[in-house]
Amino acid sequence: MVVDTNVKATNLLEVRELTVGFPSRRGVVLAANRVNLSLSYSRTLGLVGESGCGKSVTLRSVIAMVPKPGEILSGEVLWDGRDLIGRSSREMRAIRGREITMIFQDPGASLNPVYSLGVQISEIFRVRLGFSRKDAYDRTVDLLRSVGIPSPAERIRNYPHQLSGGMRQRVMIAMAVAPGPRLLLADEPTTAVDVTIQEQILSLLTELQQESGMAMLLVSHDLGVISQTCDDIAVMYAGYVVECGSRDEIVSSPRHPYTRALLAAELVFEPSEHRSRLETIGGQPPDLGDLPPGCPFQQRCPHAKQECSDVPMVLDRPAPEHGSTCPFMGV
């Protein structure tokens, strides 16, 4: 390991040199490549990037849920300074859904269609938190109310398919915050809902966060969403963190062409207008299967040059400072 394991982690979550690989027809693809992140108590870190840039995988590897057949090849995930990687599944389960919880992109798909809300939510209280059936029920009702679901006592008997997308997402959030986690992982929580709902969801999240003081790791392809919610931002491209810093730094003085492209898209167009942004960036998201040597962004980079092929893809300044992998964009 490059990283000295004796370094005392001062943060709630430290991701160091995380590398995740997937087998594919063309060999091993690195979905996350030497990713370094740090997230301190009750703050919000945003991971932004196009789909397939490895942000979701990074998110999942935090709770050791890298989708099969992928696996973490190297690196550390320090939770309170303790490395989570290589923990037994029992230990991980103790943390999952307890200290760290997660919400998903498609609230419709992430609820079990065959059980009523009540059953699914109270399951958390009964199974995970050992409440009695009765208490679990009450807690569930309160919970639903707290995430702003009208007449929860009735809703509780409903099945997922009977709720609107927004409602479902609220339910998901409710289930996520129910155990009072210290970290909430949010994977594209607003992608599946329309813009108006999106605002509500985001505000609900920040609200809950202020109340409970939990930290949040938010993943989105939408820089707008990220910048409006997060304290720190990490921009990912083709499995690399290409730029990382505080929100203000990133937004006001981006140091990587890719970040700039994203910002440009955000400024010129309505937020969340996914397609049009692609137009301004131009070209297709990279194929992780065959990346060029050096900077993976070079094919699409307006300032691409010879040397791009020799760029060592490491942040020039380690977190929490404002770092970038592109040596050619001075401040």
């Binding site: 849920m65 992430s110 079990n112 065959v114 099945y159 398919h161």
Partner: protein, 314 residues
């Protein structure tokens, strides 16, 4: 839901009529004169002709089918001149044995299929998976009567565990003597269930709500049981019902191999005897079974899956 049910039943009745019509026309096309069958080779032509008239076989096909249909509507399946008894009295006793066999076999195959399906889905594309899949291919490709005989040879002759054939006496006698047939039939059905189940388990495993459940830190067993299997079963419950025809085709052969007094063997003999009323009766009954099974599965399906139960759409 009500509307939906009514529509389903309506369709089923149509299907039923279709089945009996096909059965009726086909059997009518088969050469061979039931009257001759009944009276035997030496009976005089005049006697044969007379009996033919008496059996009403000289009427037009349409007339015959119509009277059959109308009678069937009144639950009167007609009279078998060959067996010299009302068709119904031939059907009911055999219905039991066939249903018992099929149920037993389905049970056996589920017993085989579910764990294997889980295993191969969880170990997808690993040796275990390939092994299971290969196994299903092998059993799928076995001639059922051949499999039956091999089983007899092994479990009844070499090691006399089960009776070689017959139907036994009393419920336990039945079960005992139905074990081998059920095994043979079950091995025939298992690939059906296993393939479907494996497929839907794989899908379910990939679905977000399973991931969510894991993310909630639920135990693996709980996830598999309440989330994965529960949802996969929904998908694969119907497959058995849909393929009743496939299953019954095997039943016919199996009943022959093991000398079981079931609908399958009855159908075979009555086709051979040109015992039209019985063939039609069996066709109708089997059809009814199929329809009922389909309805029941639909209901079961909707019980398993609230989306259908509440929206009432398939």
């Amino acid at each position: 839901m009500g509307v939906y049910l009514i529509r389903r039943i309506g369709q089923s009745v149509l299907a039923l009529i279709g089945i009996t019509l096909v059965a009726f026309l086909l059997i009518q096309l088969v050469p061979g004169n039931p009257a001759r069958v009944i009276l035997g080779p030496r009976a005089s032509v005049s006697a044969v002709a007379a009996l033919r008239r008496a059996m009403g076989l000289d009427r037009s096909l349409l007339a015959q089918y119509w009277s059959f249909l109308t009678n069937a509507f009144r639950l009167n399946f007609g009279y078998s001149a060959v067996q010299q008894s009302p068709v119904a009295s031939l059907l009911w006793p055999r219905l039991g044995s066939t249903l018992l066999l099929t149920a037993y076999a389905t049970f056996v195959s589920v017993l085989l299929a579910v764990p294997l399906a889980l295993a191969s889905a969880l170990k997808r594309n690993r040796p275990a998976d390939h092994a299971v899949r290969l196994m299903t291919m092998v059993t799928f490709a076995m001639p059922s009567f051949w499999l039956g005989l091999v089983l007899i040879l092994l479990l009844a002759v070499k090691f006399t565990v089960f009776p070689t054939s017959g139907y036994g006496v009393g419920v336990f006698g039945h079960l005992d003597s139905l074990t081998l047939p059920a095994l043979a039939l079950g091995l025939g059905i298992a690939p059906l269930i296993l393939r479907t189940l494996r497929g839907s388990i794989v899908d379910t495993l990939g679905s977000e709500f399973v991931e969510a459940a894991r993310a909630r830190g639920l135990g693996e067993l709980r996830v598999l049981g309440r989330y994965v299997l529960r949802n996969s079963l929904v998908a694969s419950v119907t497959v058995v019902a849909i393929n009743v025809g496939y299953i019954l085709s095997i039943v016919v052969v199996i009943e022959n191999v093991f000398a079981l007094p079931g609908l399958g063997s009855l159908l075979v003999t009555s086709v051979q005897d040109r015992d039209f009323p019985v063939v039609q009766g069996v066709a109708l009954l089997l059809g009814a079974i199929v329809v009922i099974i389909n309805l029941v599965t639909d209901l079961g399906y909707s019980l398993l899956d609230p989306r259908i139960r509440l929206s009432g759409r398939n």
